[in-house]
């Protein structure tokens, strides 16, 4: 069996499962944010079960609109706070404590290898980075999980992405996943799991793995995952002392298909408006004028991403026609970036550093686009209207490409630039 099948077999108490089979599984952890949580709470109350099945397995995060940007958001926050209090949920991350939910789930050790995790947010698939099977669900479904601790799932078939070769200069995991989405298509992995493997995966940090798994939903995947290895276990031991079971793909595991990525030949990639699978080498769109650049989100708002961006911004000024918005993915990332002096680099360059929030990524607040404007963003979706006006355009790229482009005032290929 492959890792996805092994985790689902374990979660449903079976020796073996096969793609297509419907199972009833026990949930290890469940996460809601303030966009999906209030509806889940409403539905949970309707069911009438007084307490969630296990308060230590529920994580609640305020992240999409923090601090509250309107009275309506403030009301949603209030509903979340009240429920956390009433249910005595220990893992409630209020304004100032957590950050973007997916970053919080991993960095606070709420997800362990081998676990089945559900989150009421589509990018829940991010946690496959530490060898869990994690998938996004809706609010009503979450109410069902709150009440029963179980969920029905169809065992997905798996697409294997085999990564070989060495990363070229300023080419990142973001470029890898954009390239894969371009190849597989926006619905090419629908209902399926996507497993990243191959000789080069051992050189990718947990942060980079999160970027890979995070965007598998952009090709429709149920989850993205990576079998736990040395890198995973090193990371996990620092964030939690929970017990867990290591489940990894067998040598002879079966897959629906394989996709090859040869890093020796991969340059920086960009997803052009208005579809995540409209992927081209950055070179092909070099020179496109931009108005805004954004670095942040559950895809690319981690320390590694900010450090990479700082390499292009150190001692430089952002182009006059551009505003650069940087939002670290969590309070922890914020603190580390502060300690390492990254904010000084950003501020001197003319960037705006905001608090950890989803903000600009989903067009909520903190930097929406006007009609006709163009943004190059390190986030994950470039749908029409995603980051503001339906007449704005969004290009998705790595933090290196975004930072280099902010300095140039137009989209540029970071691999052709000299290091500061």
């Amino acid at each position: 069996m492959n890792i996805a099948e092994k985790i689902l077999a374990f979660a449903s108490g079976k020796d073996e499962v096969k793609p297509g089979e419907i199972i009833d599984a026990k949930v290890d952890m469940a996460m809601v944010n303030e966009i999906t949580g209030p509806l889940a709470i409403q539905a949970f109350k309707e069911i009438g079960t007084p307490k969630v099945w296990d308060r230590n397995r529920v994580v609640m995060v305020l992240d999409h609109q923090v601090p509250a940007d309107s009275v309506k958001s403030a009301e949603l926050h209030k509903i979340m706070r009240a429920f956390a209090k009433e249910q005595e949920i220990p893992f409630f991350y209020d304004v100032g404590y957590g950050g973007v939910c997916h970053q919080v789930m991993v960095e606070k050790g709420h997800v362990c290898p081998g676990e089945l995790v559900v989150g009421a947010d589509s990018h829940t698939c991010t946690y496959g980075a530490v060898g869990a099977f994690a998938t996004g669900i809706g609010s009503t479904e979450m109410a069902g999980v709150f009440a029963t601790g179980t969920i029905w799932l169809k065992v997905p078939s798996t697409i294997k992405v085999n990564i070989t070769g060495k990363f070229q200069r300023f080419v990142t995991p973001k470029d890898v996943i954009l390239y894969v989405i371009g190849k597989v298509g926006a619905d090419g992995a629908n209902y399926r799991a996507v497993e990243f493997t191959g000789p080069s995966i051992g050189n990718v940090s947990v942060s980079g793995r999160m970027t890979l798994c995070n965007m598998t939903v952009e090709m429709g995947a149920k989850t993205g995952l990576i079998s736990p290895d040395k890198v995973t276990l090193e990371y996990i031991k620092d964030v939690t002392d929970k017990q867990f079971k290591i489940l990894a793909s067998d040598e002879n595991a079966s897959y629906e298909r394989e996709v090859e990525v040869n890093l020796e030949k991969l340059g920086p990639q960009v997803a052009c408006p208005h579809s995540v699978d409209n992927v081209k080498p950055v070179k092909d769109v070099e020179g496109t004028q931009i108005d805004q650049a954004f670095i942040g989100s559950c895809t690319n708002g981690r320390l590694e991403d900010l450090e990479l961006a700082a390499k292009f911004l150190y001692g430089k000024k952002i182009a006059k026609n551009v505003r650069l918005i940087i939002s670290p993915a969590s309070q922890d990332v914020y603190m580390q970036a502060l300690k390492r002096g990254l904010f000084e680099v950003f501020l001197k360059a003319g960037a705006l550093v905001c608090n950890p929030t989803c903000g600009a990524c989903f067009g909520g607040h903190m930097g929406l686009l006007a009609p006709g404007e163009v943004c190059v963003s390190a986030s994950n979706r470039n749908f029409i209207g995603r980051m503001g006006s339906p007449e704005a355009k969004v290009y998705l790229a790595s933090p290196a490409t975004v930072a280099a482009s902010a300095v140039a005032g137009k989209i540029v290929d970071p691999s052709t630039l000299g290091e500061a």
Partner: protein, 168 residues
């Protein structure tokens, strides 16, 4: 379960951001939400749907976020069933959970045109296009999913089952 209505047709990859734009996600009342259904792609949709329609789409309908507000907005706007060549999985599950019938039908977009009158038998997974008299085969829903739909959604279903989702 049977539903019928006139078809309103859309193309590939209709995402949840256009079904219900993010700025409306703070609305908790489904009737309020429904006033903005499909606003990102078709400002006339609400008017078209108000007397009950079948929403037909090509591939990957509902891709993007996990917002349940998307199927909720459609349901309350008057959509009786969504038929698509294929669905994005979270939208598909959400629709079932809130009691909005969904039917996957690989030939939907090629066999149905705007305004066609459709009669749908969910138990059989069959769509009759009354306008051109063609019968289109869809993927039959598993029994327990039909049961959730019949009960009117997951919440009512769990209540009926005495706190369980499926009989084990």
């Amino acid at each position: 379960m049977k539903v019928s209505g006139k078809a309103v047709v859309y193309g590939d990859d209709v995402n949840t951001d256009v079904i219900i734009p993010s700025k409306f996600l703070t609305l908790l009342d489904p009737t309020e939400l429904s006033k903005h259904a499909m606003e990102g792609i078709d400002p006339k949709f609400v008017e078209k749907a108000k007397n009950g329609v079948v929403l037909v789409a090509a591939k990957n309908f509902g891709c993007g976020s996990s917002r349940e507000q998307a199927p909720l907005a459609l349901k309350y706007a008057g959509v009786k069933c969504v038929v698509a060549d294929s669905f994005a999985r979270i939208f598909y599950r959400n629709a079932i959970n809130i009691g909005l019938p969904v039917l996957e039908c690989p030939d939907a977009s090629s066999q149905i045109e705007e305004g066609d009158l459709l009669s749908i038998n969910l138990d059989e997974g069959l769509i009759v296009n009354e306008t051109n008299k063609r019968v289109i085969k869809a993927t039959k829903l598993p029994g327990f999913i039909l049961e959730i739909l019949q009960d009117g959604g997951l919440i009512a279903h769990i209540k009926k089952k005495g706190g369980k989702i499926r009989d084990l």
